[in-house]
C-alpha cells in the first residue's frame, strides 16, 4: 500500500482513477488498491453521519454555511445569532433573566443570492441549538397563504403555519402580500402571520423574503412588522469572482471540467458585464442556467463529431459550449 503516499498528488476520486488509467498514467493493479481506500473512506463517513443526523451540532451546521461561496456579511450575522442563542440558554440555566427577543427574520436580496439555502441552514442551526424541535423548512408564497373569499385566507394561512410548526416558515416574495391594497386578502394573511409569529414564538421561525426594493416598500407600508421581525439580513449580489467560483463548484458536482479557455472567458464575461445585467442576472441561478445550457450544447457538439470519445471529451466543457449563450 505504498501508493497511499501519492494520494495527495494522485487522483482524488474513483472517477479520476479511471481517467488516469485511460490516459496511461496508472496501472490497473495500482488503481484497484486505490479503489479499496476510496470505498473504505466512503463507507466510514455515512456511518458517522447517521449518528450525527440524530443530533447535529451547531458547529457542523455552521461549517456547511461557511462552505457557501461569498455571503460574508450573512455568515457573520448567523455567527452572532448563534452566540446570542447560546448565551441566553446559559443565562437561563444560571437562573438569570433571559432575553425573550424574537428571532423572526427578513431576508432581502435578489433571486438566486442564497436566501432559501441560508433559510434551510437556519432551520438546522436552530434545531441544533434546541430552539426549534424539528428545523424543517416550509417554503410558501402569496398563493399558498391568500384565499379567495372572506375567511378563507385566515384558514389557509393557519394551515400553513401548522405545517411549519417546529421549523421554519419561509415566505418568498412576501411583499406580494401587500400588493393588492387595503381591500386585498393579503392584509389578512399578514395579520394572521404576525399573530402566529407571536403566539408560536418558541416553535416557529418566520422568515419573510424578497427583492431588496420591494421589501423596503413592504416594511414601510407595514410598520408593525419591523419590531416583530428584528433580524434583517441583506443578501448582496455575487461578485464576478464569486460567480466563477460557484461555476467551478457546480461543474465539479456534475462531474464536468471547465477547459482553461472556458474558465478565463467566463470570468471575463461575468466581470465585463457585471453592471449591465438586469437585476435578476447577477446571481447563482443564472450561472447554473448557463452551465446547464453549456452541458446540452456540449452533448450536441460531441454527438455531431463522429470520432471515438474519451472520458476527457465527455467531461470537458469548452468555451464554444458557452459562447452561444449571449450571441443572440
Amino acid at each position: 500500500m505504498g501508493d497511499l503516499m501519492s494520494l495527495d498528488t494522485g487522483p482524488g476520486s474513483p472517477e479520476e482513477v479511471l481517467y488516469w488509467i485511460e490516459a496511461g498514467r496508472m496501472a490497473p493493479e495500482t488503481a484497484i488498491s486505490l479503489f479499496t481506500t476510496f470505498t473504505q473512506s466512503e463507507q466510514s463517513p455515512p456511518r458517522r453521519e447517521r449518528l450525527d443526523a440524530e443530533k447535529e451540532t451547531a458547529d457542523q451546521v455552521l461549517r456547511d454555511l461557511n462552505r457557501l461561496v461569498g455571503l460574508d456579511p450573512i455568515k457573520q450575522v448567523v455567527e452572532d445569532i448563534r452566540a446570542f442563542v447560546q448565551v441566553q440558554a446559559l443565562r437561563q440555566q444560571s437562573g438569570l433573566k433571559s432575553n425573550q427577543q424574537s428571532l423572526h427574520m427578513i431576508f432581502s436580496g435578489s433571486p438566486g443570492t442564497g436566501k432559501t439555502t441560508v433559510a434551510r441552514i437556519m432551520g438546522r442551526l436552530f434545531q441544533a441549538l434546541q430552539v426549534l424541535p424539528k428545523g424543517h423548512l416550509v417554503e410558501v408564497e402569496r398563493a399558498d397563504l391568500v384565499g379567495e373569499y372572506i375567511g378563507h385566507t385566515a384558514q389557509k394561512t393557519r394551515e400553513v403555519v401548522k405545517r411549519a410548526l417546529g421549523g421554519v416558515l419561509f415566505v418568498d416574495e412576501a411583499y406580494a402580500l401587500a400588493r393588492g391594497g387595503e381591500k386585498d386578502f393579503g392584509k389578512e394573511a399578514i395579520d394572521t402571520l404576525v399573530a402566529a409569529s407571536e403566539n408560536y414564538r418558541d416553535q416557529l421561525l418566520v422568515i419573510l423574503a424578497g427583492y431588496p426594493d420591494e421589501m423596503a416598500w413592504f416594511l414601510s407600508a407595514n410598520p408593525g412588522l419591523l419590531s416583530r421581525f428584528p433580524i434583517r439580513l441583506d443578501f448582496p449580489d455575487y461578485t464576478p469572482a464569486d460567480l466563477v467560483q460557484i461555476a467551478r463548484k457546480l461543474v465539479r458536482e456534475r462531474d464536468y471540467l471547465l477547459s482553461p479557455d472556458a474558465e478565463s472567458n467566463l470570468h471575463r464575461l461575468l466581470s465585463a458585464n457585471a453592471d449591465y445585467w438586469h437585476k435578476n442576472a447577477g446571481n447563482a441561478r443564472m450561472v447554473r442556467n448557463m452551465l446547464e445550457h453549456a452541458i446540452r450544447r456540449q452533448a450536441a457538439r460531441l454527438t455531431a463529431r463522429n470520432l471515438p470519445l474519451s472520458r476527457h471529451d465527455l467531461m470537458t466543457l469548452a468555451w464554444s459550449d458557452f459562447s452561444g449563450e449571449f450571441r443572440s
Binding site: E22, A23, G24, P28, I32, F35, T39, Q43
Partner: protein, 201 residues
C-alpha cells in the same frame, strides 16, 4: 442487474460466461458488444459456435466488454441478470489506448456491479506465488472483501495443481467466499447458481 466477470487474461472468463448462461438455461446466446464510438453490435450465436468463436486457449481473445442477458429463476425468485464478460486485465500500463479504455470501463463497471465474479486460474496459483500483495488479484480481493456481492471463482479445477492453488487461496483469504469451478467440466456451476440466487434481492 449486472454480474461482472473480471480477472487476469486467460483465466477462463469467457468460457465461464458461455457455460454459465447455458447452465442457466439459454440455448442460444445474444451477445452485445459496445464499440468505442457507442455503436452496439449484437450477435446471435449457438452455444457451440460461441465457444469456438469467442474462446481461445492461448491468446487473450476478448478485447471488448461483451454482455449476455439471462433470466435466472428458481421457485418464486426471478431476475434478469446482465452477465458482463470483460477483457483480461494485464499488469502495468498498456501502450494501447484502446486496451486502457477497456480497462477503465471494466473498472468503472466494477464500482457499480451488484455481483462480481473475480475469476482466477487455480492451477496457476502455486507457480505464481511470487505475485505478492501488490498484484492485481490481491488488490481485487482486498477490494471485494468489503463488498457483499463479491465472489472469488477459482476456475480450471480440472487442471493439475488446482487443488493446491485452491488451498493457498483459502489460506490467504479466509474471509472471502471462494467457489471452485471448472468451466470445462461444469463442476461447481450449481454452487454458482445458488450464490447468484442468494445475491438477488
Amino acid at each position: 442487474m449486472n454480474l461482472l466477470i473480471i480477472g487476469r487474461p486467460n483465466v477462463g472468463k469467457t468460457l465461464l460466461m458461455i457455460n454459465l448462461v447455458a447452465y442457466l438455461g439459454l440455448r442460444e446466446i445474444r451477445i452485445d458488444v459496445q464499440d468505442d464510438d457507442g455503436v452496439r453490435r449484437s450477435q446471435r450465436l449457438g452455444l457451440e459456435r460461441a465457444r469456438r468463436q469467442l474462446v481461445s486457449l492461448e491468446a487473450s481473445k476478448t478485447i471488448r466488454i461483451q454482455a449476455v442477458a439471462v433470466d435466472v429463476a428458481a421457485g418464486h425468485q426471478h431476475a434478469r441478470v446482465m452477465v458482463l464478460d470483460t477483457p483480461g486485465i494485464s499488469l502495468g500500463i498498456s501502450p494501447s489506448l484502446d486496451q486502457r479504455r477497456q480497462t477503465a470501463l471494466t473498472l468503472e463497471y466494477l464500482l457499480s456491479a451488484r455481483m462480481i465474479f473475480h475469476v482466477m486460474d487455480a492451477s496457476a496459483v502455486p507457480s505464481h506465488r511470487d505475485q505478492g500483495p501488490e498484484g492485481f488479484d490481491a488488490g481485487l480481493m482486498e477490494f471485494g472483501r468489503h463488498k457483499p456481492g463479491y465472489l472469488l471463482v477459482a476456475n480450471k479445477m480440472d487442471r493439475p495443481g488446482s487443488h493446491e492453488g485452491l488451498r493457498i487461496l483459502k489460506d490467504n483469504y479466509r474471509d472471502v467466499t471462494i467457489i471452485p469451478v471448472s468451466s470445462a467440466t461444469r463442476r461447481g456451476f450449481r454452487d454458482l447458481k445458488v450464490w447468484i440466487l442468494r445475491a438477488i434481492p
